[in-house]
């Protein structure tokens, strides 16, 4: 199959009626992908992951053995009838959601107040360190213990629907050693985003994940006997959640890492997790499906890590970049070639997106070889005096900033970019320069 786009050029050369469409003006998007709100598919996938996380937390040593007892507690209280069980289940999930969502919103509001501090590398390192510390707890290095009076108060049992509700509210306290580190890690992430709505939604989803199995089991209490027996495998689940926290810490550190690590740290963690959980870890369980699940999870981690690393490694050719010099711009104007200047920094996430996606697109790459001069300016080092005049001339206020100069060397202000756009939109701007 092939393209043969000669129809339009011939039509145009005969002077027959043609039309153009102007490039749409850009609206400002978020500068960092660590803060602010996020919607669409990213949100959906994140929530699915968090719901799965909540489900997985049910399999940890602090929660799993309590499930049969809790379910019979529901049954005992209501006497007979399914509607009573449903009511208890709803109260339980309600209590869970109340505590967790409250914590989530509080964390987000606190984080929101911190604002720009999150661009500070020291703060990012601190946050990542906190998450690693919590991950180490899940790996078994230390146990999270809450004050005795708190655990005592949480273990009280009340009657009726309020009793179930109270159990939901206090699950976080009672199961703190297992759930605590993961919840605290998630709270840190939500605080960093600073958006209370996201904080609420994330923790509400977590609560749903935590509470739904119990709810379902309460409805089908006959199935309780079919549940696998508690065992060492529950600690394997804890370790899995530990790796999730490690990955979150790496995600926080990404902007301040050197470029090679930015590309390969997360894949490396995925591969290490897969190897550890699948082979180094010798846990077995009495129920056969555990071995299958273990292998499946580790293969998924290995494949995901390989996929991410491979995409970076096998990336096709990038745009042909030129080093900036005043002479270069003068030559370009003389030859009537448009110039595109990309101001970037290694810690800027949209800059990396532009590089990974837009500047590797075959059409953009083709243009950069012949018809366009594309210049990259690295602003990573603060206090670099070399580019001061350049920054002043074009009033560059941040990164990324992409400046479009037409064939006579004047800037097309209406095409200037301050955020990531896809290859198609970028190409539209490129051709408007001619």
């Amino acid at each position: 199959m092939f393209r043969y786009p000669e129809g339009y050029p011939q039509w145009q050369s005969k002077g027959l009626p043609v039309a153009e469409s102007k490039a749409k003006p850009l609206t400002d998007g978020p500068k960092s992908d660590l803060t602010g709100s996020f919607t669409g598919w990213q949100l959906v996938w994140t929530l699915i992951g968090i719901f799965a996380g909540g489900l997985a937390l049910n399999l940890t040593p602090c929660v799993y053995p309590l499930i049969p007892i809790t379910v019979s507690y529901f049954g005992g209280r209501s006497g007979t009838g399914k509607s009573g069980l449903v009511g208890h289940g709803i109260c339980y999930i309600g209590g869970l959601s109340l505590t967790n969502s409250f914590l989530g919103v509080m964390a987000a509001l606190t984080g929101g107040l911190m604002g720009a501090m999150l661009q500070n590398p020291l703060v990012l390192v601190g946050i990542a360190a906190v998450m690693i510390v919590f991950a180490s707890s899940l790996f078994g290095l230390w146990e999270l213990r809450l004050p005795f009076w708190l655990t005592q108060a949480a273990s009280k049992s009340y009657s009726g629907f309020f009793g179930s509700f109270f159990m939901g509210v206090t699950l976080g306290v009672v199961a703190a050693p297992c759930i605590g580190p993961f919840v605290l890690g998630l709270l840190t992430w939500v605080a960093a985003r600073g958006d209370p709505l996201i904080g609420f939604v994330v923790f509400f989803t977590l609560s749903l994940g935590l509470g739904t199995p119990l709810f379902v089991l309460a409805l089908f209490s006959g199935r309780l006997k079919q549940l696998p027996k508690s065992g060492e495998w529950m600690n394997w689940v804890r370790r899995l959640m530990g790796w999730v926290l490690v990955a979150m810490a790496a995600y926080f550190l990404k902007p301040i890492l050197p470029v090679v690590m930015q590309k390969y740290l997360l894949p490396a963690i995925a591969i290490a997790a897969g190897w550890h959980l699948g082979w180094l870890d010798k846990t077995t369980a009495t129920f056969r499906s555990f071995a299958v699940i273990k292998i499946l999870v580790s293969i998924v981690c290995l494949v995901a890590g390989t996929y991410l690393a491979g995409n970076q490694f096998f990336k096709g050719p990038s745009v042909r970049w030129h080093q900036y010099s005043d002479q270069l711009l003068a030559d370009a104007a003389g030859q009537g070639k448009p110039v595109i200047i990309d101001f970037y920094a290694t810690w800027c996430a949209p800059c990396r997106e532009l590089d990974d996606i837009t500047f590797h697109h075959p059409d953009v790459v083709k243009f950069s070889h012949d018809d366009y001069i594309m210049v990259k300016v690295d602003l990573t080092k603060q206090g670099d005096r070399r580019y001061d005049r350049l920054l002043e001339t074009y009033a560059v206020k941040g990164v990324p900033t992409v400046i479009f100069l037409d064939t006579s060397g004047h800037e097309r202000q209406d095409l200037r970019l301050v955020d990531f756009i896809g290859p198609d939109a970028f190409l539209i701007r490129m051709v408007s320069l001619r």
């Binding site: 199959m1 092939f2 393209r3 043969y4 786009p5 129809g7 339009y8 011939q10 039509w11 145009q12 005969k14 027959l16 009626p17 043609v18 039309a19 153009e20 469409s21 102007k22 490039a23 897969g274 699948g278 082979w279 292998i295 580790s298 293969i299 290995l302 494949v303 390989t306 996929y307 491979g310 995409n311 490694f313 096998f314 990336k315 096709g316 050719p317 075959p362 059409d363 198609d424 939109a425 190409l427 539209i428 490129m430 051709v431 408007s432 001619r434």
Partner: protein, 123 residues
């Protein structure tokens, strides 16, 4: 089955999965081939698909005389369309791959619109 052999079996499965992923990623990231086509290639392709080829002058005449009875569809990329297209044409970008053919089937119907009497011209 002893534990030893089942462990080595899982290792082989994992290794196979990783190698398959590497191969898939390498393949996906290959730069697309730029195939230079000639007019003869176009003629052969049109015959195979049962399409008529129309030259510029014929189309120009139809365009001037019976403007409202023809539908012009630009199949180039959206950025090419925006930088200049035949006045009144709509854009329907499609890469020359099997994947694009399968993906775009539904959208084509929407572009064609309700009027079944119009003659359709792709360029």
């Amino acid at each position: 089955m002893t534990t030893g052999s089942s462990r080595s079996r899982t290792m082989w499965i994992a290794l196979a999965a990783v190698l398959a992923t590497i191969a898939a990623v390498w393949y996906i990231n290959l730069p697309p081939e730029i195939v230079k086509a000639t007019m003869d290639d176009v003629r052969v392709e049109a015959e195979k698909g049962g399409y008529r080829l129309v030259d510029i002058d014929t189309l120009a005449e139809l365009y001037e005389t019976r403007r409202d009875q023809i539908l012009l569809i630009d199949t180039r990329q959206e950025w090419e369309y925006r930088s200049g297209h035949i006045a009144g044409a709509v854009v329907f970008p499609m890469e020359p791959t099997r994947w694009a053919r399968w993906r775009k089937k539904g959208e084509l119907k929407a572009i064609l619109g309700p009027d079944k009497q119009k003659s359709i011209f792709f360029y």
